[in-house]
């Protein structure tokens, strides 16, 4: 090694602040638009240690409060700085079951990294300690060194718990409940497990191998997984408790129904929900055109409506599938975009054309009902609305046309109606989300819920946070 790392224990806070923030190595944009492989390549050991040394181990540790599952962040970072990777991952795993996933897809810049003392001192949130990248680093290190082990399971209690869905909330609940010795059966509607991490988030952001390995751990723990099982249809929720002998149920069925704009032309051929577009590409692997039987629409000019992570995923997927032009249309400005800064940046690098302060008015089709263009309107920012963001106000008479053959609508989801339709006593709000108390308990005793079916479309980590809470409540309920 030509550069010798300083010894972590010798460093003064001033020395730590002087270490430059370590950049994440990335696949070159020119190359990556032609493949599905992961964009961010991960820190080297040296980079990880240097980045970890930037943490000044401040007394207040605001990062922990910023983490939805309260990982001992300074603790695991110190371990990395000391070269103790195994210790680091063990610390994380006390609170999070999916570090390799969260290290990749958590919005750290608005959670743990937002209040970081180092970032604050350097007056730049981008200079905060890269907690997420470090989390990813040790999680990958553990996997690469074949050191991943399943959590210990207590003696069998004879109690049975059903977990509906196999996404991040459900995985967390399954593991946490199984640890206590309860028998757990997980039910997944699709033929593959992993929920949104498999059908929604693309390979280039989250390799599916990682998700599958996390699920394998559940199997090692003795959790039974039933795929191709739609709760509400294959079996009614009430029957789980009344007939099948389950003592408690967790509903983590996810956000379901894609929202549309309710504009003219939205059912033309070539208009897709982001869910459909991404599910075809990710779950059905339609990007592998020679192998997959599931077809992908042949797109040359794609318009994506929305400004969240899903919109970025859809736009970047369209680039990789060979679209000549990909336009992202968002009615506010980049500052208000809910997508992670990193994803926006990557999308721009990959050639996605951003239309800010613009929105679709109607979609125009030809005589065969195929999309040929979209009529848009320009907007300006007005007074702040309920969300605190400045309200976009339409500029009258600003209509203009973009030529497109494909439109992908990525403006969020309403909750899945199936369980609600078939469980009359289950209380839901006006958006169809299941109503739960602070312990994630629903209006029915013994039935708990969490993740997107409760929160509306949120993030992997928030789903895991709710899973944690629900599992704790279920374990107490079964005592």
């Amino acid at each position: 090694m030509d550069k010798i790392l300083p010894d972590n224990k010798d460093l003064k806070p001033k020395d730590r602040m002087a270490i430059p923030a370590q950049e994440m190595p990335l696949q070159d944009p020119v190359e990556r638009v032609d493949n599905m492989q992961e964009v961010a390549l991960g820190y080297t050991q040296e980079q990880a240690q240097l980045e970890a040394m930037r943490c000044i181990q401040c007394k207040s540790s605001p990062c922990i409060a910023g983490c939805p599952v309260q990982i001992d962040i300074p603790g695991f970072i110190k371990a990395i700085a000391d070269g103790e990777n195994k210790l680091a991952i063990d610390i994380i795993k006390k609170n999070s079951l999916l570090p390799a996933v969260c290290g990749r897809v958590c919005p750290q810049e608005t959670q743990c990294q937002a209040p970081c003392t180092v970032g604050k001192s350097l007056k730049d949130v981008n200079k905060a300690v890269s907690i997420g990248r470090l989390e990813r680093y040790v999680a990958d290190w553990e996997r690469d060194h074949a050191m991943v082990s399943a959590p210990k399971v207590e003696k069998e209690t004879g109690k049975k718990v059903a977990v509906i869905g196999s996404g991040p909330a459900s995985i967390t609940v399954a593991a946490d409940v199984r640890r206590e010795g309860h028998s757990v059966t997980m039910f997944e509607a699709f033929h593959k497990t992993g929920g949104v991490m498999v059908y929604g988030i693309p390979e280039f952001r989250l390799p599916k191998k990682i998700v599958h390995e996390e699920i394998d751990i559940l199997k090692t723990m003795g959790i039974e997984i039933k795929r191709n099982f739609v709760v509400g249809r294959t079996r009614k929720l009430a029957d789980f408790i009344e007939k099948d002998g389950f003592d408690a149920v967790f509903i983590g069925a996810g956000a379901g129904l894609p929202r549309f704009m309710n504009i003219e032309g939205e059912n033309l051929v070539g208009v897709f929900s982001a869910n459909e577009y991404l599910t075809r590409a990710n779950l059905m692997r339609a990007y592998d055109k020679d192998k997959a039987h599931t077809p992908m629409f042949d797109s040359r000019k794609v318009g994506v409506l929305g400004g969240g992570n899903v919109a970025m995923d859809a736009a970047r997927m369209a680039v990789r599938l060979g679209a000549e032009e990909v336009h992202l249309i968002y009615r506010r400005t980049e500052v208000e975009m809910p997508a992670r800064v990193e994803e926006v940046h990557h999308a721009r690098e990959e050639g996605v054309i951003f239309h800010l302060l613009e929105n679709a008015k109607s979609i125009i089709g030809d005589e065969n009902g195929h999309v040929i263009a979209m009529e848009c309107l320009r907007y300006e920012l007005g007074e702040p609305d309920d969300s605190g963001r400045r309200r976009p106000v339409v500029i009258n008479g600003s209509e203009f046309i973009i030529d497109l053959d494909t439109v992908i609508v990525a403006i969020g989801n309403d909750s899945n109606p199936l369980i609600k339709q078939t469980t009359p006593d289950l209380e839901t709000n006006k958006w169809g989300n299941i109503v739960v108390d602070e312990k994630c308990k629903t209006s029915i005793d013994g039935i708990y819920a969490g993740g997107d079916i409760v929160l509306g479309a949120a993030t992997v980590i928030l789903a895991m946070g709710q899973g944690r809470t629900a599992a704790k409540s279920i374990n107490e309920y079964l005592e």
Partner: protein, 283 residues
């Protein structure tokens, strides 16, 4: 899992499979469908359930080889497993005693129509069944329907069996009778359902159609199955598959069904080339 316990070829392109699927058989009701996937890299396709036996734990599917996945399905043998099978999906048919029910089935649509017709009969309706197909070879479930129907009319496009007529002809006559039907249920190719709905419209006879659209998950998640019903967007998988035929925008539905036509036609042609090559190799 999902073992094929009986396979029958009903005609050149039509097959009947009885499949071990206890969970689906336990819950399924007339009008519901399943989604299946035959190969690891395969498509997920919806097929309406033609029959089920809760005691035996089986469901029956009848399908026509119209594309790659149905061809692969037809290649499976008895004792083979269907890789993935999920259901029952969709809302069941609303079965009620209304008086006279005319059930119109076109081609392979007779298969999903059968359990609905039977349920309508059992609850006490007078049952008139109209079956139509391109030719005699494509008429299915005639004997089964005869057993339950008070009256059965068979039509073929080429006159090779029954009346040489489209199903809309006897349907129109039924509507013109003094006692017009109280309900019409039409299941078949989209264009047939469209014209059945047009036929009954002037007589204001309530007409239910069962739609089979492009679908991936079948639980409301992808929205690929959306159709326009009464000017509003509805999802076939969770709001349907049955809708008021007088309100469905069939033209839009047919256009959407053709979204991947080029690729589907290519794959289908490839299937036939492979079958021809196999036949040749086997002498």
């Amino acid at each position: 899992m999902n073992k094929i316990i009986e396979k029958q070829q009903l005609s050149d392109e039509v097959f009947r499979l009885k499949i071990e699927a206890a969970l689906i058989a336990r819950e399924c009701l007339p009008g519901q469908f399943i989604i299946l996937q035959v190969a690891e890299d395969g498509e997920r396709i919806p097929l309406t359930i033609a029959d089920s036996d809760q005691k035996e734990g089986t469901i029956t599917l009848i399908f026509q080889t119209v594309g790659k996945t149905t061809h692969l399905l037809a290649e499976l043998h008895e004792r083979d497993d269907i890789l993935n099978l999920v259901g029952p999906l969709g809302k069941p048919t609303h079965v009620e005693k209304v008086g006279t029910v005319v059930c119109v089935g076109g081609g392979i649509g007779v298969a999903p129509l059968y359990p609905i017709a039977r349920a309508m009969k059992i609850i006490g309706n007078k049952l008139v069944v109209i079956i139509g197909a391109r030719n005699k070879d494509l008429i299915i479930l005639e004997d089964e329907m005869k057993l339950i129907a008070d009256e059965i009319i068979i039509c073929t496009d080429d006159g090779s069996y029954g009346r040489k007529a489209l199903v809309t002809a006897p349907l129109k006559e039924a509507c013109e009778e003094r006692e017009k039907p109280d309900l019409v249920i039409a299941i078949g190719p989209p264009v047939m359902m469209k014209f059945c709905a047009e036929t009954t419209r002037p007589y204001k006879v309530p007409t239910v159609v069962s739609l089979n659209t492009i679908m991936i998950d079948g639980t409301g998640m992808c929205g690929g199955c959306r159709v326009i019903v009464g000017g509003e967007t509805r999802f076939v998988c969770v709001d349907g598959p049955e809708f008021d035929g007088h309100l469905v925008d069939f033209n839009n539905m047919m256009q959407r069904l053709g979204s991947y036509k080029k690729r589907e036609d290519k794959d289908h042609e490839q299937c036939h080339l492979e079958i021809a090559a196999k036949k040749k190799a086997n002498g």
